[in-house]
């Protein structure tokens, strides 16, 4: 089970230059809209032809510009769940699912397989409905049933939850977790939402302006995204210019501080990131005198905006997020950060 992609594609002033591999797990591609995530999926599916490169799925070359191979999408066996699901509006749920089973020539076996799929995706009773008569969640299940019925070699999900109501999203994500486990082969999940990827994926690739900036196990990528864009996309709220001042010491001019890091620093350090949850009044390392500047209430947390006393006058306030029950009665005089929670960022 593996997918290996190494492609180049230029279109309208945009340059896609992607290279990555998967090995049977669920890879999340995290990127802002327009970064080339969907274009990458389209190249893998054969809808868009890359300018050059290679795409190999489970040992079968799907595209190889050097060898002149470019399989049509029909022969790639790539399951592609589109953002708007791509259900055929003129067909019923059952007919849509039968479309995924057209390789099976025996009519009775096809019907049986479709019925099985309908049962598995909990679509009983909806067989004769048209897509427009279904809820968003049901439409997604039909689209997935239609794809899985054809037993593809890989499953690609393009922003699979963006068309759903927020309150449904988490519920459907837990279902999705189950379906993906049953599927058991490579999965690519493209999203701009870090939570979806954190919940569902084993590894994470951060994509920006057509390039993969970094790839690794999800938890590690969240702990240490490595790139500035990676920190932004994984939801880091405090990113600030920094330069290397020592093997484990980063100078942050905007805050007027020098922060100790656990990771050894490279010379090309350009910024550091600190997640808003990681400030602590009890922590004595990397500690600085602070003043409260503003606050915002959330259902379960407070966002407290503060400024270091040593900060440059034009620097932006720093965010500290704290669960309501842990908010101290008086805003602390000093806040510290554990060195392992100072994320060095490059490029």
């Amino acid at each position: 089970m593996s997918l290996s992609v190494d492609i180049k594609k230029e279109f309208g002033g945009f340059r896609l230059e992607t290279a990555f591999e998967t090995d049977g797990d669920i890879l999340g591609i995290l990127g802002a809209s327009g970064c080339g995530k969907s274009m990458t999926l389209r190249c893998i599916a054969g809808i868009v032809r890359p300018d050059e490169g290679r795409i190999v799925l489970n040992g079968v070359p799907l595209f190889d510009s050097a060898a002149g191979i470019n399989l049509p999408p029909q022969e790639r066996r790539v399951g592609y769940l589109f953002q708007n699901y791509g259900l055929f509006p003129n067909m019923t749920v059952e007919q849509n699912i039968l479309c995924g089973l057209h390789r099976e020539k025996d009519k009775r076996r096809r019907k049986k397989a479709a019925a099985e799929m309908i049962g598995r995706m909990k679509l009983e009773g909806l067989e004769t409905r048209r897509p427009a008569q279904l809820s968003g969640g049901q439409q997604q299940r039909v689209a997935l049933a239609r794809i899985l019925a054809g037993s593809p070699e890989i499953l690609m999900l393009d922003e699979p939850f963006s068309a759903l109501d927020a309150y449904l999203r988490v519920q459907i994500q837990t279902d999705m977790q189950e379906w993906l486990r049953e599927f058991g082969k490579d999965v690519l999940l493209v999203s701009h939402n870090r939570d979806e990827i954190y919940r569902l994926c084993g590894s994470l690739a951060v994509m920006d302006r057509g390039r993969i900036l970094g790839k690794g196990p999800v938890k590690q990528m969240f702990r240490s995204p490595g790139s500035r864009q990676g920190a932004v996309l994984t939801g880091c709220k405090n990113i600030v210019e920094a330069r290397k001042a020592g093997e484990h010491l980063a100078e942050v001019p905007a805050w007027g501080l020098c922060l100790e890091t656990e990771e050894p620093l490279r010379d090309d350090l350009c910024a550091i990131g600190i997640r808003a949850h990681y400030f602590s009044p009890e922590e004595e390392r990397n500690s600085g005198a602070v003043v409260l500047e503003g606050e915002m209430e959330e259902p379960f947390e407070w966002i407290l905006k503060f400024r270091y006393e040593t900060a440059a006058p034009d620097s932006r306030p720093v965010w500290w997020r704290i669960p309501k029950e842990r908010r101290p009665q008086h805003f602390p005089k000093r806040l510290g950060i554990a060195p392992e929670q100072v994320m060095p960022l490059y490029r």
Partner: protein, 224 residues
């Protein structure tokens, strides 16, 4: 009363609509895929017959298919002559009504959601299946409207038809050329009958369109 013009008009309109249905759809489908510059140029050429006076279209057709023109002479060797024959009327009607089909079909194809075609392809469905079973049903309304418009235009064609096939009673006469002929020869009564027949046909066509549309709307409601 000689009903030949009715029969002739109907068969010319019917055959030319079928021809225009296929050529218009395929021209629209392939034009949508061309690079922008080529598309713009092709668009002008394909829409020209709609903007030109029909007599000019007829004149151009005579330049190409006239008995003493190269193509006309080649075709004559195979016994095909588009001038002064009833089936020449098909050519005239098709050329004039083609842009109506082409433009409405193109509009329908342009509003088609391409992800439907892409998802069909990734599911392994053949491009032919996708075209006839997914794209065409989704664009059905525009294509139907284009077909009806093209049929109505072909039925009422006068200018290019009279240039290319003239008016020979019992051979090339159509409703519209007959109306003109009868009026010119002071047979106002005869002209009036044909005008009434024409009105009746137009009414039937329009009623059919309205019925199809309301049926479509009802089906749409059921689908929601």
């Amino acid at each position: 009363m000689d009903l030949y013009p009715l029969w002739n008009s109907l068969r010319i309109a019917a055959v030319s609509s079928v021809a225009v249905f296929f050529t218009g759809i395929f021209a629209a489908y392939y034009a949508a895929r061309l690079p922008r510059a080529v598309k713009g140029l092709l668009d002008v050429v394909l829409t020209l017959p709609m903007v030109l006076p029909p007599t000019v279209c007829g004149y151009v057709l005579l330049l190409i298919f006239g008995a003493r023109r190269p193509l006309g002479m080649v075709l004559a060797q195979y016994g095909i002559r588009f001038t002064m024959t009833w089936y020449g009327g098909i050519l005239a009607a098709a050329v004039v009504s083609f842009p109506l089909m082409y433009r409405t079909a193109r509009g329908a194809f342009e509003s088609f959601d391409e992800t439907l075609a892409y998802s069909g392809q990734t599911l392994g469905l053949s491009n032919t299946y996708i075209f006839w079973r997914i794209r065409m049903p989704a664009c059905r309304q525009g294509i139907l409207a284009g077909t009806v418009l093209a049929f109505a235009r072909a039925l009422g064609e006068y200018g290019a038809t009279s240039m290319l096939i003239g008016y020979t009673p019992g051979r090339t006469a159509t409703i519209s050329t007959t109306v003109y002929q009868l009026w010119r020869t002071n047979d106002e009564g005869g002209a009036f009958i044909w005008v009434m027949i024409n009105l009746a046909i137009s009414a039937v066509v329009l009623l059919t369109v309205n019925m199809l549309e309301s049926k479509e709307r009802a089906a749409g409601r059921r689908r929601l």
